[in-house]
């Protein structure tokens, strides 16, 4: 972990950010995996370069000497530390320590409670006479949750060394900001997801990131639109944060698509549908794109009920493209006796449930 305290606060002219970006450029030549964490703080995987350069201490000395000139110019000192986990590493850099594997909790224990950067929690701990992370870590887990809430419980786990990363230690926009230094500033009119500069936007993004940290980054998603024939083709969900703001198009007409209203549930897993006539004979789609019978009943995979069909519309043939994985031939809307509207797709394997008008 690399810590440049003089660059941690952004000045009015952005000189700190530029100096930080320059620093990262130099470090990058030695350690290609350097990652900015927030202004003035960057993480590097310690093991690989230290094996190459002969120990973690050697890497620290090497980097410090290379960064010396730059540091002097921009008026900051360079501190390097090594530990397990992002939080402990930042603390190690602050203290210019190399914390041996397994010694993380003991190292953290001596630090003041204020390093968690939670003023309210720190105040409460001070009142309880808990001045160090070690004293805080020694509290019972359940009592912490009761007294300090979920964020307190999170800090507690960090203090115990059970969690490597303290929420809030990363600036989620640092990479973007540093990238922005090299390119013309993005236009304000560009639609940006959860972006913009408003406080509310920032809070929303931070909340989404916290959920990603707790449940996994793939679990929090945003929608992206594109053109296509099908409700399933026309939109996709991608993990929050992976999205390029510009790729989020506005609602545009989709040539060749079914007109609105679209199904509000679009299934991502395959669900086969058995479609028959009133007598129970299967109904399919002919080569000419016509139904081979009169739809009378349907059964959806996973649902034991067989429902009568009171109305249907289509089939609308789809142009088959050789790259189309779904191999859909046509779409059909059916309305059941319960008033449920469903969108089916005729595929080689039979009917599939595309969506439901929930």
């Amino acid at each position: 972990m690399l810590w440049l305290p003089g660059l941690a606060q952004e000045g009015p002219r952005g000189a700190e950010a530029r100096a930080f970006a320059e620093t990262l450029g130099i470090v990058h030549q030695r350690c290609p995996f350097v990652t900015p964490i927030r202004l003035g703080v960057a993480a590097l995987p310690a093991r690989a370069p230290s094996r190459f350069y002969g120990g973690e201490g050697a890497v620290a000395t090497l980097l410090a000497s290379e960064l010396e000139d730059l540091a002097q110019q921009s008026g900051t000192e360079v501190r390097i530390g090594v530990a397990e986990g992002l939080f402990a590493s930042v603390m190690a850099a602050r203290a210019e320590r190399i914390v041996e594997p397994g010694a993380t909790r003991a190292f953290l224990a001596a630090l003041p409670i204020s390093v968690l950067r939670r003023p309210e929690l720190a105040a409460l701990c001070q009142r309880l006479g808990l001045h160090t992370l070690g004293r805080f870590a020694a509290l019972d887990e359940r009592r912490v949750l009761e007294r300090f809430g979920s964020d307190g419980a999170h800090c507690h786990r960090v203090a115990r060394g059970e969690l490597g990363e303290l929420i809030g230690i990363r600036d989620p926009r640092i990479s973007q900001r540093l990238a922005g230094l090299e390119e013309p500033p993005p236009s304000a009119a560009q639609p940006s997801f959860f972006g913009g500069s408003s406080l509310a936007a920032e809070r929303a993004a931070r909340a989404a990131i916290r959920v990603q940290q707790r449940l996994g980054s793939e679990r929090v998603q945003v929608a992206r639109l594109r053109s296509g024939h099908d409700p399933a083709d026309r939109a996709e969900l991608v993990p929050f944060g992976s999205e390029e703001p510009a790729a989020l198009g506005a609602a545009a007409p989709w040539p060749g698509g079914l007109p609105a209203p679209s199904p509000v549930t679009v299934f991502t897993t395959q669900r086969s549908v058995r479609l028959t006539d009133a007598a129970g004979a299967p109904v399919g789609v002919s080569a000419r794109g016509l139904l081979t019978g009169v739809p009378g009943r349907c059964t959806v995979e996973g649902d034991p009920r067989t429902m009568s069909i009171v109305a249907w519309a289509g089939p609308w043939p789809l142009t088959l493209r050789w790259w189309d994985r779904r191999r859909a031939k046509a779409r059909l809307q059916v309305l059941t006796e319960l008033g449920t509207g469903m969108l089916l797709s005729a595929e080689r394997s039979g009917w599939q449930l595309v969506g439901r008008y929930d």
Binding site: S150, P191, S192, F193, F194, S198, A200, A201, R203, A204, A205, R206, A207, A208, R210, V211, R214, L215, R219, V220, Q221, V222, A223, L225, P231, R234, A235, E236, L237, F240, L248, A251, W254, L258, P259, A260, P261, S262, P263, V264, T265, V266, F267, T268, T269, A311, W312, A313, G314, Q333, L335, L338, G339, T340, G341, M342, G355, R356, Y357, D358
Partner: protein, 205 residues
């Protein structure tokens, strides 16, 4: 006197006519119920639409397999919505964390919601001045009394015949009930109308 915007979140004009005060009250829970296919999900999404367009941040938790195109058609601004589908047991964690940053949550909780989890979340929403819209098959989907319940009782599609037309418009019959069974009111709503709008069905005399 607190300004109205600080106490409420805006909804589409047609929905404003259904809600007491003409908006979603911050800090409260609204329960929207109906069987799959009844239109309850569409109604829940529609309740978020105006707020998302007005710059309020929203989340859809446990709304599996979201039909994003339909949501745009219902008026949702996708740039202000995060989706956490297939959330199962983690719904309370997701909702609790998101309440730190979003103002409106559409939540479809799993089958059995523990009382304590619901209470904690409702308290968090109250504290954060956010609104919860809970989707469920029946009113027992949420273990707490709520400020407002909107039940989709029946729904009727129009436009599709026997191989003709297409599903083009739907009317739903709603029963809106205030806290403790007060102010029960029945309405009929286009979801959507043949013109693609959400509107109250004009009273037939």
């Amino acid at each position: 006197m607190v300004p109205a915007a600080a106490r409420t979140l805006p909804v589409l004009p047609a929905l404003a006519q259904l809600l007491p005060g003409g908006a979603l009250r911050r800090g409260t829970t609204t329960l929207v119920t109906g069987a799959p296919g009844s239109g309850a999900t569409s109604l829940g999404v529609a309740l978020l639409a105006h707020a998302s367009r007005g710059g309020h941040w929203c989340a859809a938790i446990g709304v599996d397999d979201p039909g994003v195109i339909a949501m745009v058609e219902l008026g949702l601004d996708l740039r202000r919505v995060v989706f956490i589908p297939q959330v199962q047991g983690d719904w309370a964690i997701a909702a609790g964390e998101l309440l730190e940053g979003v103002e409106l949550i559409l939540l479809r909780p799993p089958a059995r919601v523990p009382h304590a989890a619901a209470r904690q979340l409702a308290a968090r929403a109250r504290e954060r001045r956010a609104a919860l819209v809970v989707l469920g098959p029946t009113t027992s989907a949420w273990p707490l009394p709520v400020e407002l319940t909107i039940e989709v009782e029946t729904s009727r599609w129009r436009g599709a015949g026997l191989g003709e037309g297409r599903l083009s418009a739907r009317t739903v019959e709603l029963c809106v009930t205030g806290r403790g069974g007060t102010r029960q009111q029945r309405s009929s709503l286009w979801l959507p109308s043949p013109g693609g709008e959400i509107a109250l069905v004009a009273e037939r005399s």
